[in-house]
Structures are given as C-alpha cells and as structure tokens.
C-alpha cells in the first residue's frame, strides 16, 4: 500500500468504527471533517487527489463497517461534479441511477427512484440525456423506501425544481455497480473474520467448531469467495482509473454477487442460531450483502450484458479481447 492508502485506511477505520449505531446526520460531520468524500477530487479544491484505487480503500471499508451513510455515493458524486465542472457542494450529496423526467430551462420536473439516503442528503446528482443534473433534496417531495437491509432508498419527486446541469457522458449505473462491488468485498472480508473468530470460540462435542473438517472446508470456500470478490473489485477499480471499464465492472459485479450469494450462506451456517439473532453483528453485513446483490445489476443483468457482448464479438475475438484489456 502506498502512503495515501495507508492514511486513508487508518482514517476511514477510525471514523467509521466511531460511527457504529449512529444516524447519518450524526456520522456525517466526522466523515466530512476527515475529507473522505473528497478522495477523488483535486488537491487544489481541498481533496486528496486520489485515484479510484485509492478510493477503493475507503469504499471497501464502508462495506466492512456496514456504514449507515452514503459515503461511497458521495465520493462518486464529488468526483463527477468536479469533472463536469459543476459547483461541488460541501454538504451530503447522493446519487440517483433511476431518473425519469424532463428539463425545461434550468428547472427539472420528474422522479428519482432508489435514491440512497435521499431523505438525509442535501443534494442529489443524477444523469439524463448526456447531462449531469444536480438537485437540492429540499425541493423534493420525499417518499421513504428502503432496501432489505433497511438502508434508505427513497423516491424523490421534483416539480419545476431549480437544477444545475452540465453536459457530460457517464454511466452512473455502472459506477454504482463499481461502488457496490467494493462494498460487497469489504462486507465479505468482515463476515469471514467473524466466522473464523466465532468457530474458534464456540465449543461442541468437547472441541471448537473450527476443529471439525466439515467446518474447515466450508470456511475455506468462504475465504476463497472473499478473495475472488476482493480481486474483482481491485481489478475493476484499476480499470476505472485507466479509462473505459465497462467490461471489468460487469464482470466484477457479477463475480462479487456470486461470491456474496455463496458466502452469506456459509457465514450463517457456521454461526448457527447465534448469527440469526438481532443482537449479533453478522446480520448488518449479510442483509447488506443480500440487498447489494439486487442493486446496480444482479447476476442475471450482468450475465446477459456480458454474454451478449462476448457472443457478438465471436469466438475468435474472445481471448484476444480478454487479454487486451490489461495490456
């Protein structure tokens, strides 16, 4: 790890560990003070001037700590706003990947759905027709919704709301998939830690669960899936730094989803009834791992998209295409 990543890892771990059990409004000042939403923005504007690979450290940590605030979304929003030369607000910004509506002059009328922490954010960034749109949530009528992990995924209705726009081609949906891939990797790493720790402590038949081969073999699979998700995230973040990462993001989200599907089952199985209690700290991770598999493309979505691309290119192009992406 380079110096910046070590710094980011330490800072994020400290801030997010303190954030446990607090509301988004309570957490956000510490996150802002540490400058975490500005990992990707330039040093001149008060950011870290980091790369996506640097940001990975922070976003993975959000998954690891099951953070109850839209820090990954804010990092993406700050980066896009700066790149598109929108006035980058300092307050909490989230993003909306599902927008329906119309611009008329400098006003927007329409609906944004599945907005992470829409009720808590001050601003929301969305994309439509080759434009980035930055809106104030104060102008919206907010319908609260949530994902299976109880994370806010609100619907925001705007009527003739003032909007800041910039012409900018981007794929918000793919970028959200990139964020979720890293969060999945982070949550899996934590679920693995808990599973190893628990099976070493829990005694049955006069010995620790960890000493049973049946348990060891399952935990090995959990570790492998965690490693695969981590690799997929790291490679996709690097690709995002290098330019068009459409293929890598599709492959990485698909692989991370699969890892989450397999690994959550194992983590719960080795925890027995304890993992199923509201009190124990496994469920904030596993419920998110289930929710994030649906968000920004489930396995079906990305498999179809990748499968179409690969078939269209034909069997002769498959391997040359695959290796050309990293050369």
């Amino acid at each position: 790890m380079n110096e910046l990543r070590t710094l980011l890892a330490d800072t994020t771990a400290r801030v997010l560990a303190d954030a446990k059990g607090k509301s988004p409004a309570e957490i956000w000042p510490a996150i802002t003070e540490a400058g975490l939403p500005k990992v990707l923005t330039s040093e001149e504007s008060g950011g870290f001037g980091g790369t996506w690979e640097d940001a990975l450290v922070v976003i993975e940590a959000c998954g690891h700590h099951a953070t109850t605030a839209p820090l990954p979304e804010a990092i993406l929003a700050a980066h896009l706003a700066q790149t598109a030369k929108l006035d980058s607000p300092d307050a909490m910004v989230t993003i909306a990947t599902h927008a329906q509506g119309a611009l008329s002059g400098t006003n927007f009328t329409g609906t944004l759905r599945f907005v992470p922490w829409g009720r808590d954010a001050a601003h929301v960034l969305t994309a439509e027709d080759g434009k980035l749109l930055l809106l104030n949530t104060a102008d919206a009528k907010i319908e609260p919704h949530q994902n299976p992990a109880s994370e806010p995924r609100d619907t925001l209705h705007f009527t003739n709301a003032p909007v800041q726009t910039a012409s900018f081609q981007t794929n918000l949906f793919a970028d959200l998939a990139l964020l979720r891939t890293a969060q999945i990797a982070g949550a899996l790493a934590h679920a693995l830690d808990l599973s190893v720790q628990y099976t070493k402590e829990r005694q049955q038949f006069g010995r620790a669960l960890a000493q049973f081969q049946a348990i060891q073999q399952q935990l090995a699979i959990l570790a492998e899936e965690t490693a695969a998700a981590g690799m997929a995230a790291a490679a996709a973040f690097r690709a995002r730094d290098q330019g068009d990462a459409g293929f890598e993001i599709a492959a990485a989200k698909l692989r991370a989803n699969r890892a989450a599907r397999t690994a959550t089952g194992i983590a719960h199985q080795v925890h027995g009834a304890m993992g199923f209690t509201a009190e124990y700290s496994l469920h904030p991770l596993t419920t998110r791992l289930w929710a994030w598999q649906s968000e920004a493309g489930n396995e079906r979505h990305w498999a179809e998209s990748l499968g179409k691309t690969v078939a269209k290119r034909g069997y002769r192009a498959f391997w040359p295409d695959l290796v050309a992406r990293s050369e």
């Binding site: 790493a189 830690d193 190893v196 720790q197 099976t199 070493k200 960890a210 000493q211 081969q213 348990i215 060891q216 073999q217 935990l219 090995a220 699979i221 570790a223 492998e224 965690t226 490693a227 695969a228 981590g230 690799m231 997929a232 790291a234 490679a235 690097r238 293929f247 890598e248 599709a250 492959a251 990485a252 698909l254 692989r255 699969r258 396995e299 079906r300 990305w302 498999a303 179809e304 998209s305 990748l306 499968g307 179409k308 690969v310 078939a311 269209k312 034909g314 069997y315 498959f318 391997w319 695959l322 290796v323 990293s326 050369e327």
Partner: protein, 381 residues
C-alpha cells in the same frame, strides 16, 4: 488469522509483441490440429513441438542465460503459456520440466546439475516427471515408503511410485524418497534425480477413463542413483517439495484446462445467443476474467520474490472448480441438435473434457487437501 492478498498485476509493455509472435507461431505450427487434439491441452504432447518451442526461446524462459535460459520475466513466460493453452497446443511433454523442475534445479540443484540439465530443459530436449504418490501415499504424501539406501558413491532405491504423469516419455524423474528413518516423516525425505533409463527401473502405463495412458506405475528395483543426483539437502525433501507448489498451483493451466470447450460453445452459439446462452456465457466470462486476475497476481508475487503459496492454493481450488464445472454446464445448456451430433469438433471436445474433468481437482493436490491448507492459513488448525 492470515489475510489473502491479491493485487492487480499489470503486464509489461513487452507482452503485446510477444503475444503476437506466439500467436503467429501457433497459427503456422498447428494448421491441421484436430479439435480432439486441442482439447488435450497440457495433457497432450509432441516431442517435435517441444523442441520447436525450445528453439524459439519459449522454454526455460526465466532461467539465466548461462544455463541456456533466456532471462525473461515471469510475466513473459506467463504470456507464452497462456497463449499455448488457449490454442490447445501439445505442451504436455515439457510442461513439468518448464514449470517446476527447472526452477527447482536452479534453486536447490548443484552447479553441475544446473549446467547439465537446465540447457536441455530450455532446449525442449529433457522431459521430467514427478515421483511423489505411491500406492499407500496419496494425499498423505509424507508417508512415502520408497527408500534410498546409502551405498558407496550413491544410493540404491527400492519401492514404487504411482499416478506418475508422463513417466513413459520422461528422461528424468524428480522423486521424493525416504533417506531417513520412517518415524521421522517430514524430516527423513530427500529429492533424487533419477535417469529414467536406469537399470532396475520399470514404467507401466495405466489406462484412464478417457482410454489414454497418461499416468503410470514406476517400479524401483535396486536402482542406483549417484551422489551427484541428490537435489538440495539430504533430508530437505519436504521443504523443497513445498517450495515447488507455488509454481504448480497458480498457473493459467489451473483454470484454462477446459477453455477449448468454452470456445466451442461460443462458436456453436453464434452471434445471437438465447437468454439462457447469454447467461452462461456471461457467468463463465466473469469467472475466467477474475481467475486470470488472481492467477496473474500470484505470478506477480513470485516475480517479486514473495511467497504466495497460500494465495496460489486459493487460485488452484477456485480455478480447478471452474474448469471442472465448465463441461457439465456447457453440456446442460447446449441445444440438442448440436449436443447429439457425434464426431463434430464440439462433440470431440465435450466428450474428452467430460471424462478428463474429474482429474482437475485431484492432480497436484486434491480439493480437500487444498481447502485444508487454506483452513490452516485461516488459523483454524
């Protein structure tokens, strides 16, 4: 508890040109290779082909020049072998020598062994096999009983090895034998280089379920092995064998053994796949992309002089599970008219891989042993 570290690896700028060179060579060398031959991948072999690779400088690539090697990077070797595997080139005869015997001799061998053997490996003229398993020692490798008794000027070896791949074609075997007391298990083992033409050594091929004979029984009846053929330290065999494993467990051959069938499936599917076909193609592509990243990450660590044995174990289990499941998935998802037609390129590839796939999670350490190693790394045992 240990963390597994996987970091993206960037191919060096030289990779692109080298890849083009290898592809041009393969296109010229394999115009008449059949689908069945290509599906053999690194289980197929051709001595003339191995020699040509040697002449092109694509064997022993990472060995120093003074031993006939080419002082190329691990990444460059990786490029060459992944292109060979994807093309289904007959690389099986030199595979063990190039992958692990060469590096092992370079690291633990005597100067004399390096000077005599490494140039032959790099030329594609010396093939190696690995004498590890015995009738009573499979996964429990440390229980090997083949014994080397110290005699004047060397050793006398008695015992039997089994499941020894390509022993019938190999010039040398690097064998794990007991030189110490039986009770000492790991401590009493040594690696001896055995000339396969030695008196008292007999090779008996064993037919496998594909109808071919890839592995063998090898009998040692008072076989004399000179002192100069001990590799590394007497009693250091276990440590040396373990060091070989990072080379053996993480290469692209641990996820690409079924690549020919994936390509066949893609070919017969055509440009307009059904949703079901899209699903399978997408899933397999994502898996392959991830495995390649992981495999390259381990190679990067080897190149940097780190010890990625644990990560290599993860790659091998994930990779072999993938390449093993692929034939079953392709079979389950192929259109009946394509599936039932016999004697086609698709059918020949599927038929061979359905039958050979069970070996993928056995060879070089079973899935259960690998997972046991990972469990140990996790601190569970």
């Amino acid at each position: 508890m240990r963390k597994f570290h996987f970091t993206p690896f960037e191919m060096p700028p030289s990779a692109k040109a080298l890849r083009a060179e290898v592809r041009a060579f393969l296109a010229a060398e394999m115009p008449t290779a059949t689908a069945a031959e290509k599906s053999r991948s690194w289980s197929g072999g051709d001595a003339a082909f191995s020699k040509k690779l040697g002449a092109r400088g694509w064997l022993g690539m990472t060995l120093p020049k003074k031993y006939g090697g080419h002082a190329r990077s691990y990444a460059e070797r990786y490029v060459v072998i992944e292109e060979m595997l994807v093309a289904g080139a007959p690389v099986g005869l030199h595979w063990v020598a190039d992958r692990q015997s060469g590096p092992l001799i370079l690291r633990y061998g005597t100067e004399e062994q390096r000077q005599t053997l490494l140039p032959k490996i790099a030329a594609g003229e010396a093939f190696f096999c690995i004498g590890m398993s015995e009738p009573g020692s499979g996964s429990d490798l440390a229980s090997v009983r083949t014994r080397a008794r110290k005699v004047e000027g060397g050793w006398r070896v008695n015992g039997q090895k089994i499941w020894t791949s390509t022993a019938q074609h190999a010039h040398y075997m690097i064998t794990l034998v007991r030189t110490g007391e039986a009770e000492t298990r790991h401590a009493g083992l040594s690696q001896l280089l055995v000339d396969m033409k030695s008196d008292g050594l007999t090779v008996k091929p064993i037919a496998n379920i594909t109808g071919e004979s890839h592995f063998n029984e090898v009998f040692f009846d008072d076989v004399f092995v000179p002192d100069s053929m001990l590799i590394g330290d007497e009693g250091g065999g276990w440590k040396q064998v373990t060091a070989e494993l990072a080379f053996e467990r993480s290469g692209p051959e641990r996820y690409l053994s079924s690549i020919r069938l994936f390509l066949e499936f893609l070919r017969v599917t055509g440009e307009n796949p059904t949703e079901l076909e899209q699903q399978l193609l997408g899933r397999l592509t994502a898996e392959m992309w991830t495995l390649r990243q992981m495999s390259m990450s381990v190679m990067g660590k080897l190149a940097a002089g780190e010890d990625p044995t644990a990560e290599a174990t993860v790659v091998k289990d994930l990779g072999t599970s993938f390449e093993q499941e692929l034939p079953r998935l392709v079979q389950a998802n192929t259109r009946a008219d394509v599936l039932l037609e016999s004697g086609t390129a698709f059918d020949d590839t599927l038929t061979y891989l359905l039958q050979s796939a069970p070996s993928f999670s056995l060879r070089g350490g079973t899935r259960e042993i690998l997972r046991g190693i990972i469990a140990r790394e996790l601190g569970l045992r």
